[in-house]
Amino acid sequence: MELARVEGTVVSTVKADRLIGYKLLLVNLLGPDTTATDNYLVAVDNVGAGAGEVVIVVRGSSARQSKGLADVPTDTSIVAIVDSIELKGKVVFRKSDPEKKAAAKK
């Protein structure tokens, strides 16, 4: 699995029938400290991820093992939204909480 940041949505009208109803997102693969590698992939979103979020993508045939995707022609699926990352004992990423931010502004 790899870390990635959601950088956009992919809109497609003409697509494989088995892909109908699934959200396709454009993701940029990240290094462990969440620096972008500029390797872009189109991924089926299975967790409701949004733009800017750091996520975990599964690649290859394992991507179809995610819930409900057994018959979907995908080789890249988003299976988790990352809260925080600890690297060598240090927290290198923490998801910002919009509610907490709003409270801090007040």
């Binding site: 699995m1 093992q65 819930k67 699926s77 988790a80 600890e86």
Partner: protein, 89 residues
């Protein structure tokens, strides 16, 4: 299976329900001399490894079989801790 060195941990609340209870680690794939191979990846952990441990992991579709009780959506799963590595040649 390949060798890897555990670098850290990833937390995620919102995730595929099949990943509930599965620990996710940052891991650097390494060669037999402990030299890094490529970029660190996220791996599902089935053996309770710790930061700094040398482990072996399985990649690809076979990684979904790492847990006995269920199949998990994983393309990299840590399946063992390396106690000792004897490189003969």
């Amino acid at each position: 299976m390949k060798l890897g060195r555990v670098l850290g941990k990833v937390w995620a609340t919102v995730k595929d329900p099949q990943l509930d209870g599965v620990k996710l680690y940052l891991m650097q794939p390494v060669d037999e001399n402990d030299e890094p191979l490529g970029r660190p990846i996220v791996a599902a952990d089935t053996v309770s490894s710790n930061f700094g441990d040398l482990v072996f992991w399985v990649s690809g579709a076979e990684a979904t079989f790492a847990l006995a009780e269920k199949r998990i959506p994983s393309d990299a799963s840590i399946v063992g801790l390396v106690d000792r590595l004897d490189v003969a040649i």
